[in-house]
């Protein structure tokens, strides 16, 4: 079992680390469940998981390709 670094001891170890086993494949690491937001913060954030909260920041009001 894999226990995450920088993670309090009460988090749920879920996965073994991904080994670079095969070419031409995409991998997303399994989420490791550490802490969660409260109800109100979850609704405002759009997720209960702090690790998955990645808010959008508008970089330039006048640019049409600000996603980059």
């Amino acid at each position: 079992m894999y226990s995450a670094k920088n993670c309090p001891s009460n988090c749920i170890p879920y996965q073994t680390p991904i080994e670079p086993s095969s070419l031409s494949r995409a991998y997303v690491p399994f989420q490791i469940y550490c802490s969660i937001y409260g109800e109100k913060q979850s609704l405002l954030s759009g997720t209960v998981f702090p690790g998955l909260y990645k808010p959008y920041v508008k970089k330039n009001e006048n640019c049409g390709n600000c996603g980059k």
Partner: protein, 210 residues
Amino acid sequence: MWVYEKKLEFPVKIKKTNPALAKCILTQYGGPDGELAASLRYLSQRFTTVTPEAKATLNDIGTEELAHLEMIGSIVMQLSEDADMQEIKNQGFDSYYVDHGLGIYPASASGVPFTAAYLQSKGDPITDLYEDMAAEQKARSTYEYLLNLTDDPDVAEPLKFLREREIVHFQRFGEALRTVQDYLDSERCFVIPKPNFMNNDKNCGCKKCK
């Protein structure tokens, strides 16, 4: 089978009419990377995927996309319902108005009606999941472009919520992909019980045994 909850996943209460923005946001209702396409894609693919985890992921996310469709419909309706003729004409909503009035019709921002050609159900679980992850990214980009087009917090807050859901869904599809890859890679062992006549080793028929 579904159970309907008579409330939105995230509240939508818009005070300021903006038909031009309504027409743009409509693309997430029936456009190429919209919620209807997402929902139909996942709910169709779930029939032929493998592993219980992938089935549940497709079913749950496909269902949630329907809740998002409902939110987008509410946003478009609230942005356009109080528009007067002048606003409809000046803000470029007239081309939509002549075909659909103030009704909510599944079409893209440029008015192209919804089509199932926006989605694929390929029958290959790996191929389908890659498409799903790409779809989540395309929807996220669309939400970011929409956020660039508005400063109204009443509109931006639900859009930010929906954008964040795309990120969470990407993670879930990534996890489903891993379970499917592991399952398809695993060696399957077929065990056939040894027939009874082969167990009769005390008397094999040779001279010694006799």
